[in-house]
Symmetry: C2
Subunit: 234 residues, 2 copies
Amino acid sequence: MDQIAPASQKQRQVMDALLQIIDAEKLGVGDRLPAEVDLARRLGLGRGTVREAIKSWEAMGIVTRNKGAGTVLATDISGHALQLPLSVTLEAQSLARTLAVRRPLEIEAVRIAAREADERQRHEIRGLMLELMAVYEAGEDWRAIDHRFHAAIHAATGNPLFGQLIGQLQRAFHDIYEAPFGQAQLGHASIPLHRPLAEAIVAGEAEAAAGLMAQILDEVTAAAAAVTAREEQA
Amino acid sequence: MDQIAPASQKQRQVMDALLQIIDAEKLGVGDRLPAEVDLARRLGLGRGTVREAIKSWEAMGIVTRNKGAGTVLATDISGHALQLPLSVTLEAQSLARTLAVRRPLEIEAVRIAAREADERQRHEIRGLMLELMAVYEAGEDWRAIDHRFHAAIHAATGNPLFGQLIGQLQRAFHDIYEAPFGQAQLGHASIPLHRPLAEAIVAGEAEAAAGLMAQILDEVTAAAAAVTAREEQA
DNA sequence: TCAACAATTATGTCGGACAATGTTTGTACG
DNA sequence: CGTACAAACATTGTCCGACATAATTGTTGA
């Protein structure tokens, strides 16, 4: 199973503290963060641990480190999925934002897949769709297969970036996807649409496939909005 | 200036070595990478340095680390921008791939911006466009302003993820964008299209704006392809 | 055969030390 | 007074060694 470990607890602690500091001191792009030693002492952690946590942010392009100078914010983190003290509403907002970005990516991916996929890939997509349908109709948990189905589409584009970017998006927002909704199987209603989607891709009908993918995403978005509304009432 | 330090030399060395090992031993998703201590000894580097390099990959979702188990590949890195021994052709391929992914994102961004931007944002977009035009017609380097112009559009979507994702894409492929093409000012021909684009956004004409953005991206793609062809001949 | 326990392996964290480099401060000279 | 150079300082980069923690593997015993 895809564990997707969201950085260890201690490192998470560093990120949380950093976010609080950024918020409390209203740090913006270009502003300097506290030095590693300071942060380590304030949190009672080793410097190496603090370094590694910040290193993750550097890899994500959130901060830039300069030897001798310091660590500066390189991007606006407002609305970023790293905020820990998030209310469910805010989490749902992030979910909506994630979907808004995934939407064009996924649609373009199926469009390209329908045009570029080779025979083997079309065959695989069709097989996974049939499997998905079987599991869905049996009332079992279809999320794993659904994931593989969409991954196959991303692979069929011939451009690894689609899968990577969407995957990264999912990973970064993993808590949002899994935590609040849990077994809700978000987008349940969209599953039947997967059959015509797969068929359109196999047939090479790019625009039809794109349209169906848009419908699927609309379903998921609607489901997310519904959950949000319910949470807000409570 | 945006330095965009691509991880220090030593850490780059780790990544290169790791890529070579992955290639030589044909490691795929789920396979285990050499342990940190091994790698450190083989490269003559400290374990901490090796750890940090791999940490970056973890943050990017390329590998997953499990205490006690080891580090396993979590995604397909073929075609990833980390490959160092890239020929110009391969670099250009990556450029094409980057553009293929950016395309739907940018188009959706202008569509949303045209619908959602508030008055201040529309005003800012218009102002930057005028500035861009002035610089362009004066024959000066318009890339900085162009960057700000597009950043303003991303901001106007109200969804920070657009700017972040595209920015990250640009950062990750910075060498590709800047190194081979240098002062070429890729997409020179697309600049005149920025005026109607800005006007469409300001007027709230989402589809017109999306179409213009598509044209701009087509220009850039064509320019990139032309440079590629020229390089291949040489 | 299988379950419980022990040994091994590998990452996670810590602490300290020095190197490399950018920033700031201080001082001397014009 | 102000500029220019030099020293001190601050901060990240790298290294080492050690122990903690968790997963895997091997072994033993019922």
